[in-house]
């Protein structure tokens, strides 16, 4: 009987344990080898940009939590900082330090989710539980300061919603002492695990030129060796007053991207400790008018989130609602390189490469 081989169109998602949300990828496979991958987005498109035109600047803030729901503090921050830039508003230093502390705590929480789910993608089930146990400590801290575990709406245009409760800063310091031994546990379980290294080394390699051409940012860019971090490039809040390194990889493969994120947790702990030492007393909110009406103009402002550069291009026409707000979503841009990366690798590597991009579908679809 004659046998033949033909290419098969295989559908992955939108419900799939490894697509990190509602992502559908149509794979053209030849046996186990991928010939083409075509992502089909839009399952979580919630028209955030259109809604911005219909709500006042103050009203829109809770919606920013829902962009990248694993880094809601970062979303809040980029939004309020953009409006503050449009209005030329000065924020008191205590508010800046509180913002930095919560943003770095959120970065640690987001990277813990990444480590846990990336391990899960590769088949390691235990680190997932450990990461989420440690992340619970951070969520408890957030619940103490603003009442919510995931969608905080903690920032305000001009500062933060409220000052830290009594003893909160000491609890953050205790957390900074609690975490390093747990990270050592994680390293023994996953980072130095031979099986994990074999699964992720030299998979999904991105050259530095490719990374810049495709507009990548965050650990995707730093994993390839490009030392670029918005906190160092265009410092915002008071990041120019704290001392931290920018970890980079050498080979640009999935393992390097994982290591960059793992080392970023250490750097975040460093930043938090410095902020705890430097935080002054004072107001947490500037004097803002009752109705926020920035002068007509436009501005682009970006921050460094755990996924990369989250930017906001905001156009104001002088009214109390934004005229146009375009969100530069890091997961969206980082995912665009995915079809290039998976070509000519195996089906098992698709999951590893997709996991190493660390996307949040809420941000990809916007």
């Amino acid at each position: 009987m004659p046998t033949k081989t033909e290419e098969l169109l295989m559908n992955m998602g939108p419900q799939h344990p490894s697509t990190h949300g509602v992502l559908r990828v149509v794979l053209t496979v030849d046996g186990e080898w991928i010939r083409a991958a075509d992502p089909d987005l839009g399952y979580l498109h919630r028209s955030f940009e259109k809604m911005a035109e219909l709500r006042t600047y103050v009203n829109y803030l809770p919606l920013t939590d829902r962009w990248d729901y694993l880094d809601a503090m970062g979303n809040n921050l980029v939004y309020v900082e953009t409006v503050e830039k449009l209005m030329d508003l000065e924020v008191p230093p205590r508010a800046h330090y509180i913002r930095m502390i919560v943003c770095e705590l959120n970065r640690i929480a987001s990277h813990l989710v990444f480590i846990g789910t990336f391990g899960l993608d590769v088949g390691a089930n235990t680190p997932f539980m450990y990461c989420f146990r440690d992340r619970e400590r951070i969520l408890d801290l957030f619940e103490a300061i603003c009442g919510a575990r995931l969608t905080y709406s903690f920032m305000r245009i001009g500062g933060v919603a409220c000052d830290t409760p009594d003893g909160w800063l000491e609890q953050v310091r205790d957390f900074c002492d609690y975490l390093p031994p747990k990270l050592k546990e994680l390293d023994d379980l996953l980072t130095d695990n031979e099986i994990f290294i074999v699964r992720t080394r030299n998979i999904g390699v991105i050259t530095p030129e490719q990374a810049i051409r495709w507009g990548l940012s965050g650990p995707m860019l730093r994993g390839s060796g490009v030392r670029w971090d918005v906190r160092k490039g265009y410092p915002y809040a008071l990041y120019n007053e704290v001392d931290f390194d920018v970890p980079t990889g050498t080979r640009g493969d999935a393992y390097d991207r994982y290591c960059v994120r793992r080392r970023e947790i250490d750097e975040s702990l460093k930043i938090i400790r410095q902020c705890l030492d430097k935080i002054p007393d004072g107001d947490v909110m500037a004097k803002v008018p009752k109705i926020i009406r920035p002068k007509p103009g436009e501005v682009y402002h970006a921050i460094e989130t755990p996924r990369g550069e989250l930017g906001l291009y905001m156009v104001s026409d002088g009214s109390e609602k934004p005229y146009r707000m375009k969100i530069r979503r890091p997961s969206f841009v980082n995912l665009s390189i995915f079809p290039e990366l998976v070509r000519d690798w195996k089906v098992a590597d698709v999951v590893v490469i997709l996991g190493s991009i660390d996307i949040v579908m809420g941000e990809v679809d916007g």
Partner: protein
Amino acid sequence: MTDLQTLLQEKLGDKVQEFQPGKDMLRMFVERDNLDAVMQTLRDDPDLGFNYLTLLSTVDYKEYLEVVYHLRNMVNRQQVCVRVKLSPDDARVPSVTKYWATANWHEREGRELMGIEFEGHPDPRHLLLPHWWEGYPLRKAYGKDVEEWGHPITQDVILAREKPERPERPARPAAKPASKAEGGGETPNTETKTS
């Protein structure tokens, strides 16, 4: 006049309509016909070297549409913003995917949400919206013109019409046969076996 502005004026001359200093970066207004040459110079000229396209956005200013490009030089951290004005009846602009590969998805999103045609785009299918979606949601007039798009057209509305006019799903671009074998480790397989 900043140094960047003098440099740009030297390199681009009269291709730039107008310069405008901004809160965050210099803004340039360019006509659509000069856009291709301007973008090529901005990326390839060694003194300018804007090798990173941060964001490509589209704005609806009612009388005209605008495409806004935020460019960055990763080496000296310079940023510049290029703006192109388009009339709503003739909303087409050359694609810059050949200069910055990241523009691919930004332009697909801009096309389906704002209705601007990016000429020369390698893959102009819908990205976020379903392929049968009618109308351009991010335009200011969307939803206000009751005759045309009084409400977002959903699939059951289309099917309920007398003659369901669902557009044919555009074909996906063919899988490229060439492979890239970057990095060691497991060698990717590129042979297709035929019997």
